[in-house]
Amino acid sequence: MLRACLRGANATARTNFRRCRPNNLQQCRHYTAGEPSGGAAKVVAAGLVTVGGGVGGTILYAKWDHKFRATVEKNVPYSDQLLGLALGPPLQDVRSEKQVEVAQPPSMMDKKVKTSKSKSEKKVKEEAAETSPAAPVQSLEDTLFSDEASAEATHIISAMGDAPSVPAPCDTEAAAVKEECAECHHHDDSTVSAAVQPEATAAEAEPLRERPEEEVTARLALQDQQEQDVLAAVSVSLEDSLASSAKATLQAIGAQEAALQAVTRHTLRLKEAMEAEVPPQEKSAQWKDLEVSLADRNSAVDDATAALSKANEALDGLKSVIDESKGLKVSAVRPLVLAAEENLHNMVVDLDKAVTKKQTAESEAKIVSQYSELVNEAKLQFQKEVSSLTPEIQANWKSLTGKLSPDDLNALIAHAHRRIDQLNRELAEQRVREQIHIDSALEQQKLEDQRALEKAVSTSLQHVREEARLDQERKLSELREVMEAEMRTQLRRQAAAHTDHVQDVLKVQEAELKADAEQVLSSKMLEQETRFRQLSQEQLDNFTLDMNTAYARLKGMEEAIDSHVIAEEEARKAHQLWLSVEALSYSLKSADTDSPSMPLEGAAQAVKESCSDNDFALALSSAFPQESLQRGVYSEASLRARFNSLRSLARRVALIDESHNSLYQYFLSYLQAALLFEDKQAAPPTQLSGEDLDPFKLLSYASFCLEHGDLELAAKLVNQLRGEARRVVEDWLTEARLTLETRQVISLLSAYANAVGLGTTQAP
């Protein structure tokens, strides 16, 4: 019925479920069909709004709070780009840019500033930069001072406690492109300017993060390393450029000299060619030489100009390198720079000299060439005239003295006279114009001289200025060294004084502490000693106690052991006795159903041996019946079996005794046995009465007893049989008696052995 109900319930539930489910689905479908994407769109829109709001809020807040902006940029990757896009670069860069523009030295600071990123000390820089507006002019000197002095300066400042200090920040001469240099420079700037104007940098509330010492030393080491690297690089570059420029300059000078030589040679040759009256063959050779020398001169001049340009390039390069290295502001570079500058100056000077020489030679050459051109022109003119006059006369008119006719000669002379007149007129004109020409020429020359003079003056002025500047720089470096040495000595003196003071203080402290410590030590020692004495006394007492107890226990143990030995001996003997008795009782069991057990002689002997000192056991062990010793005894089971067969026989001869023993009686007895039925087993009464002496009853009692394992009672009952029955069971009875006797002895012995054994295991 329960199952039926359940089934019904399940069925109804299923039908209901089936009915409801489509409704739900329909409803859901209806519900969702109306706005399939509305919920999702809403969620998406909400999410976008939230995200946008978060981002916008972050950007606005970053704009307002720069610390927040810094933390955001630090923690969120790529946020710095986003914030840079949205808000522009972080503010302190713009401000420091302005300051640097105000500052004079157009060093790499600009580059550094523009490439620097905001760091944690940006705030400090800002503040420091704000508070040292007048720093720029000094910044140059400060940079010159800054390196070794900066560390000590900052220490001094920190000791003064006026300005926020960072112990020995990176020095300003770090490598150009390193960012730390920017902030270091700024910082150093600020600190050094603070040293110069301590009151200007009023104690800023800005907490500075003091760099840990290891960092400082590391930074110093790093900067030293950087300086060394820069120095090495700069020196290498300087040397290279010096070498190259020296080479180029020398080359240029050589070229100039060569050009000069070529020009002078050419001029001489030209002069010779024009003025010397040499035979025509040599003249042509001369003209050829002249052409050669002209070519030479041209080439030399070209070479000279090329070399000059190269030298100028090299010198410009050297100058730029020098400027660059000057811009690095590493102190060790300065002597190198100075030397390089001097070399440059010398080279420039030499080059200029050579150039001027060459130019003078060139101008001379120009004059001479002009003169030669004029002469050539005149010659040509004359030749044209002569040729026009006397067409057949050849150009080489000097060699035809014999060939000309008198007409020709006359014509020639007339022409010559006319030419002479013309020339005289020209000469007179020339003399008239001479003055004007001379004046104009003089004017021109004056102008040219002026110009040349100005140029020379300017170059020499430049050279002098250069020399003066170099001198000044040399003097400055010397002075700086001197000042540094002096500062070092002062600082050393201060350090020495400080160490002396510290030593004194330490000595005093040492004395005090020593006294205290000694006092404490002595008191502790005393305490310890007393405690030690106490403890040792205690220990001694304890030890004595322990020793006594141990001795007593030892004694007790010895006694116990001795008594135990005795007891064990007894126990061993008892055990042996018990074992032998057990062996004896075991040997009793060796009886088979129809054969007696083994002779008990051996076991009895063993028992006798094991109880040699015990009279009771000896007496017992010698109480064995001889038969059992020799032959062994029958087991109860065999006796029982035997009895069962005996019983029928006894029943059959129950009537036979001394008086009734005829055959007829036998027959009667047999008949009685066949007809009489009694209990197989009947429990014997505690007291036998006269009627219990009936053999049949007796036999049933005995059977009962035997079945219940009571051989003794059975034997007793059987013993009551009389007559032939008795005769029949006589052997059985003796056997039973033997067995009983033996068993009795053995049980006594085992009881005795057990008792003895039990006795020995107990405490005496």
């Binding site: 008086s659 023993n661 005829s662």
Partner: protein
């Protein structure tokens, strides 16, 4: 074994009986055949005699334990009950 004694006695009895009866029968038959013209009375006599002898022997044998031997000396007879005179005489005879 004392219990086997009886059995042995009966064996003897039966064997003896068989022999005596057989012999008596045989003799009787012989005598009957030989001397008495095949009358049955010698056979029955013989077998009867044999049986009687066997019976007597058996009984004697069975009684042997209770009968005193000639060599045995016995004190004054204390057994005053249930003594049958005939049996007493028979015992004396069999000695």
């Amino acid at each position: 074994m004392s219990e086997k004694e009886l059995g042995k006695k009966w064996d003897r009895c039966l064997a003896d009986g068989a022999i005596k009866i057989g012999t008596g029968l045989g003799l009787g038959i012989v005598f009957s055949v030989l001397f008495f013209k095949r009358h049955t009375w010698p056979i029955s006599l013989g077998s009867g005699a044999g049986l009687g002898m066997a019976y007597a022997n058996c009984q004697n044998d069975l009684r042997s334990h209770y009968m005193l031997q000639r060599s045995e000396k016995v004190g004054l007879c204390k057994r005053t009950h249930n003594i049958k005179i005939t049996e007493y005489f028979m015992v004396c005879i069999s000695e």
